[in-house]
Amino acid sequence: MKGPMKFFLAAAAALTAVAGGASYTAAAMQARTAAELRASHLAGEQFDGYLGVVGEAPGDVRARVNSINITRRAAYTDVAGRRRVKIEDVGAAMACEIFATSILPGQYYMLPDGIWRQRLGQAPVPRPAYCV
């Protein structure tokens, strides 16, 4: 990469980090798996079994969230076919599992009221009524 180009890219990254409300750390920019996206605090788990973007996020974060959701939906469709249930039911059951095990302190989750909440401290995440 040529000198001036490198400078402009670094300047753009710095401006983005300063101007954005969230802190787009290098780790957040690299987040690819669902666990990494949850840890970046730019995405959270929804009650319907899909990842959602929390507030403003760069386009590539949204693209990765969409890509993961496409994979999830394919997996839910597969199970739904085998078990003769609705695709949404598999997603809901997955959300129950994820809410119970994988939302670490500081990470975001959304209940059926549509509000993003952040898990604070060690208190367990409240789960939708249909979870056991």
């Binding site: 690819r32 798996t33 669902a34 666990a35 929804q46 009650f47 319907d48 899909y50 959602g52 973007v53 507030g55 403003e56 996020a57 969230v65 969409n66 993961i68 959701n69 994979t71 999830r72 939906r73 997996a75 199970v79 085998r82 078990r83 249930v85 609705k86 949404e88 039911d89 598999v90 997603g91 809901a92 059951a93 997955m94 129950c96 599992e97 994820i98 994988s102 059926p112 549509g114 939708p128 249909y130 979870c131 056991v132």
Partner: protein
Amino acid sequence: MSDPMIKAPFMSSVAKPLIGLALAATLAGCIELNAPDRPIEINLNIAISQEVVVRLAQDVRELRETNPGAF
């Protein structure tokens, strides 16, 4: 008397809507820049029973094992 429309055949009744369409298509590309940040998939009508949640528990755990990056 000369009809100005005859001297400008490219402004026929076919061309004008086409030009309008082209303008609209060009301008339509600008609308996406500030799209609201809404979730792509969100189902507000989940009516699953606890019985089904229990029945799917094992399948759901297997999904997480075989697709660790996605869940």
